[in-house]
Point group: C2
Chain length 173, copies 2
């Protein structure tokens, strides 16, 4: 089956929003999704976008059982290593279940690697849930290293009241 990988346009945000929820359902964390299509449109397609996005599209004849032709996406942004300089972080990579095993996920990820290298990035980073062995195996097979397993890196997060409290205690200028 042919598919096309292309940079997302603002009018794709409704489809991206749909797939963000599908991915969160798979990750069993759909209650954490608070973002709207409008916010994606605003944050990704302004003069100083906070992320970039690529989508995978199939032809009408291969549309999904529910009628969709945009069947996968990846959302990523540029980060920075104080050891290596520019890096790219792939926040999401998703392919609808009925389109898996056809190279679409690989195609999306390769596109991020290519775009990242065009932006002088020497690393592509991502996080994955340890029980999601299908994805973990996929990334490792493609050459990723598990930095949590090998070096012991843990991801920490401040949010909600903890973040509010921290911000309120900042020294005055």
């Amino acid at each position: 089956m042919d598919f096309k990988i292309r940079a997302a346009k603002q009018e794709d945000c409704k489809e991206i929003s749909r797939m963000i929820i599908e991915l969160a359902v798979f990750e069993k964390m759909q209650d954490q999704v608070k973002i709207s299509t409008q916010e994606l449109e605003r944050d990704g397609f302004c003069s100083n976008p906070r992320f970039e996005c690529q989508v995978a599209e199939v032809s009408e004849e291969h549309k999904s059982s529910q009628g969709y032709t945009v069947v996968g996406y990846t959302l990523y942004f540029y980060t920075y290593s104080t050891w290596m300089g520019p890096t790219v972080f792939m926040e999401d990579l998703y392919v609808m279940p009925e389109y898996r095993g056809k190279g679409i996920g690989k195609g999306l990820m390769s596109k991020v690697a290519q775009v990242g290298k065009e932006h002088q990035c020497s690393r592509l980073q991502l996080t994955v849930l340890d029980w999601n062995t299908r994805s973990l195996d996929f990334y490792i097979m493609k050459g990723a290293r598990d930095m949590t397993a090998s070096e012991g890196w843990h991801a920490l997060r401040f949010d909600g009241e903890a973040l509010d409290k921290l911000a309120a205690e900042a020294p005055k200028d």
Copy 2:
């Protein structure tokens, strides 16, 4: 001891570069530091900076045994959650050993939280090495959650030949 937290200026990059190496030595990974003062100047202080930085400064009378007055820094950038929207990622937080235990690290981190909230960020994220229990305890005490321990998030990385190979295999436009 009084200290001041302020946004870094381009002329601080030499000091930041020195402290990046000090931090990497502490993390036992100094061989991974490939970045130069010039690259920091270029990447952080251009029209579209790839990161922001705050430094901690003490007065001349409290300068370090080697004569430094810039004694800590934090380097951070804006990221994006497809569930929550804008987030801020604190890549580095460092205070020189002889200045620890005086609230400087807390001051720097609080400043990032404050600036992050001004940029509509609902999360402050970071990674820490699991054997660095002093830092891990510090963050947890301030209200951070360990997402690797609680939800199983692992950090993955493509670099070197694995990244080159991935990029080379990207589908043609």
